[in-house]
């Protein structure tokens, strides 16, 4: 199905959706653009890629797992498991790479182990992606299996054309969504949309071939000097992991708030010292070189080697763009690939 959404109706669409479901959208917030739970009055910002990723729609930074509450009349605290409320979520205006992110790590939560939280949120979420017309200096989606108009993980693709967006459904849920009254008949704009997509794909820089990366990175596993050089300027913060649409590591902690204690699952960060700190005090990844090795190799070597070659990276470039020290993950993988024995 193909419909047209006039640019002027975008905010009206978000406002209307916010009345009946959760809307996660890129919003201008002071000087930055971040994904936020949209409420009427917020300013949608589609012209810049948001700093944060739309990952929170399926995997929020904080997810309560259970609540323990102490009541005066009971000796034992009352413990209740929590599941996310069953409410439809619409991700409005993510990029194709962001929508693809959850497809990459989905098998981890829906494979051998079945994670009811991720499953429910994913079932309830509709991804309306905005096709990119021009790559940024940090974009490399086409090198890792995606593309500026890649439909993987999206329900609807919005293609920017004169005066608005041609909305193309990818899934049945997407087609149903396009029945919304604010969408208009597409008319003769289909050809213009096709041209935009073709032009966008042509504008991408030449793809880099990462197929030798799994073996080449593994070959550098014990090369301390290589990793120390690659990680020299890394400051070992977590900006890359928290911005990443495909990082899925989490931590579970009990947070105590007086009479209420909550067990929460939160995003974890493999660049942190405490990520692998063992109860004994031993840490198998004591330096930033160990940790960066794991982050890069996990994405480009360990993950593809057990998930049919799928690279755990969607090429959005957020980790490069927002790195305080300008660490470029592409350059590290290239260095490993080109390493002369």
């Amino acid at each position: 199905m193909e419909r047209f959404l006039p640019a002027a109706q975008l905010t009206a669409l978000a406002d209307d959706l916010a009345g009946s479901c959760h809307v996660l959208a890129p919003v201008a917030h002071a000087g930055s653009v971040v994904f936020r739970w949209y409420r009427p009055g917020m300013r949608l910002e589609f012209s810049r890629m948001a700093s944060t990723s739309p990952k929170a729609a399926t995997f929020p930074q904080t997810e309560p797992l259970l609540v323990a509450q102490r009541h005066e009349e009971h000796k034992q605290p009352v413990i209740e498991a929590t599941l996310p409320p069953q409410a439809r979520t619409v991700v409005l205006g993510c990029r194709p790479c962001g929508a693809r992110g959850k497809e990459i790590f989905g098998p981890v939560f829906l494979g051998v182990a079945h994670d009811p939280y991720f499953a429910r949120r994913r079932e309830d979420a509709l991804f309306i992606s905005l096709v990119c017309t021009r790559p940024e200096t940090t974009c490399f989606c086409s090198s890792v299996g995606g593309g500026p108009a890649d439909p993987t993980g999206s329900d609807v693709l919005l293609i920017p054309v004169q005066g608005g967006f041609v909305a193309r459904s990818v899934t049945e849920a997407g087609a149903a969504f396009l029945q919304h009254a604010l969408f208009e008949d597409v008319g003769a704009r289909g050809a213009e949309a096709d041209a935009v997509v073709t032009q966008a794909q042509a504008a991408m820089p030449p793809s880099h071939d990462f197929s030798s990366a799994p073996a080449k990175l593994l070959a550098r596993f014990d090369d301390k000097e290589f990793w120390e050089q690659q990680s020299a300027k890394c400051i070992s913060c977590g900006a890359c992991t928290y911005m990443c649409p495909t990082c899925y590591c989490f931590n579970i902690t009990d947070d105590d708030l007086g009479l209420i204690s909550r067990r929460i699952r939160t995003w974890d960060n493999c660049m942190s010292y405490t990520f692998t700190l063992e109860a004994s005090g031993h840490n198998p990844r004591p330096t930033k070189a160990h940790r960066l090795k794991n982050r890069v190799s996990h994405k480009f070597s360990y993950y593809p080697s057990i998930h049919n070659g799928v690279i755990a990276c969607c090429g959005c470039g957020r980790c490069i763009k927002h790195c305080p020290a300008g660490v470029d993950i592409r350059a590290i993988v290239h260095a490993a690939q080109e390493y002369a024995q």
Binding site: S20, H22, W37, A56, Q61, T62, E80, L83, P85, A87
Partner: protein, 163 residues
């Protein structure tokens, strides 16, 4: 009984073991009447008080925080309260940038024999906090979690944990 109205507010007091805790005890032994809003936490020395104790209390919802130690030059450990004075004053002046009303935090010196002075300090500070009223606090729930709970409720659906 609280100072000015019936509702008790939450005031946290960090008192040094050697002077002010003794001063509070002296006031109690002498049966001086005092407001009951203050919850005392005894610390070995005012120098033990990390300013972050105070910030944590205020962010967690305390309506006021009172710190009291030995008078300068009278510290049991000779110089703990000299360091404390610098830290506490720095915090006091900094608080205005945080949006927490600096009047909600105060520090003073009360010796073990000054029961009457303790009564005065507690009464005055409690009165001040009651004038300011309950402290507004920042949200302790992330935006997403808040949304999970609030959106269905706003849409007229019942809360999932109450059927």
């Amino acid at each position: 009984m609280s100072a000015s109205d019936s509702r008790e507010l939450r005031i946290v007091g960090f008192l040094c073991n050697w002077c002010s805790y003794g001063g509070a005890d002296t006031a109690g032994v002498a049966r001086f009447s005092q407001p009951t809003d203050l919850r005392i936490i005894r610390v070995p020395c005012s120098g033990r008080i990390d300013p972050l104790f105070i910030v944590r209390a205020l962010i967690n919802g305390a309506d006021g925080v009172l710190v009291s130690g030995c008078h300068p030059r009278d510290c049991h450990y000779a110089e703990g309260n000299f360091y404390a004075r610098r830290r506490l004053e720095t915090l006091k002046q900094f608080l205005s940038a945080t949006g927490i009303d600096p009047r909600r935090f105060e520090y003073t010196w009360v010796s073990a024999s000054e029961g009457q002075r303790w009564q005065h300090v507690v009464t005055e500070f409690t009165r001040r906090i009651h004038e300011l009223g309950p402290a507004p606090i920042m949200s302790h729930v992330s935006e997403g979690a808040w949304f999970d709970a609030a959106a269905p409720a706003a849409a007229g659906q019942s809360c999932p944990c109450h059927g």
